[in-house]
Symmetry: C2
DNA sequence: GTAGGTGCAAATCGTTTGCTGATTC
DNA sequence: GAATCAGCAAACGATTTGCACCTAC
């Protein structure tokens, strides 16, 4: 994975290109998304931003995250029964492993998964544009309890 | 796939076992879920039930679908940005192919996908309890336009 | 007869939007 | 200085819930 600073600079550059402003609140959101491994929810980003900027509103976090999603700089993992989660490190579709107990989400590195889109496209005639590969389970930490 | 009547009888039996009643509205929902290939939304089920029972309310459909989901007799495909979709034929997790244009959802039969849970479990130490494998693309019909 | 179901309306919850005043460039 | 952004509150849309009446068993 690219290091945090590089990714942060990348996102900043993309925003500037598009003529967007870099407010302190927005910078805080970018920093969290560039550095976090745990695929935070908007609410979690909000709580962390509030430490430095207590006046920040939830709507502002939503607006920045939505903007980044539309720019393709953040991957949204939507859940119909829970808050959506966001990945600013690898903003393209990739497999995830989700703990049903602690809700932790980690990236899943399994070589055979990367060829799936082509296999599916060939065997179905669909033009594959995206994918969502989630495995739900109990993580080793939660199993121990 | 089991034929519609068999699946319908199965669901009816499971409800009876649990002491649930078979009202006309509920029967209509069961029939739709047992027979439909297209993974209908609650709203779509509602529209079809209303043809025969115009007094039916949306809440009733929701309650029946929720009951069946909790019993494990229906698979819920949740979408954070759209209505959830339901599969009463194969109520266990399996891969789907989703057309991003017409929203059609079809089952995806690719042999290599079925071994994935074990592979993931072994390589990660997680105890896999479920999965969600969705491929998004443009179906052949929509590509033609 | 009674537990469970229906229909209606109100509540919920994550997310989005409209607007006004503030701020970045 | 002007366009964009922040903050607030209200709106949204899918789903859930509370409750009074009804009906399958």
């Amino acid at each position: 994975m690219a290091d945090t600073q590089t990714r942060l600079d990348e996102m900043i550059a993309r925003l500037r290109e598009r003529g967007h402003r870099l407010t302190p609140q927005r910078m805080a959101v970018l920093r969290i998304l560039a550095s976090s491994e745990e695929h935070p929810s908007v609410e979690q980003i909000y709580e962390r931003v509030k430490v430095d900027f207590p006046m920040t509103s939830l709507a502002t976090i939503y607006k920045t995250v939505t903007l980044l999603r539309e720019m393709g700089e953040v991957l949204e993992l939507g859940f119909s029964d829970d808050s959506n989660r966001y990945d600013g490190n690898k903003p393209y579709p990739h497999p995830h492993l989700i703990c049903v107990k602690c809700k932790k989400i980690v990236d899943l590195e399994v070589a055979s998964l990367s060829e799936l889109p082509q296999v599916v496209a060939q065997s179905t005639g669909y033009q594959i544009v995206s994918q969502r590969l989630d495995f739900f389970g109990v993580c080793p930490q939660c199993r121990g309890k």
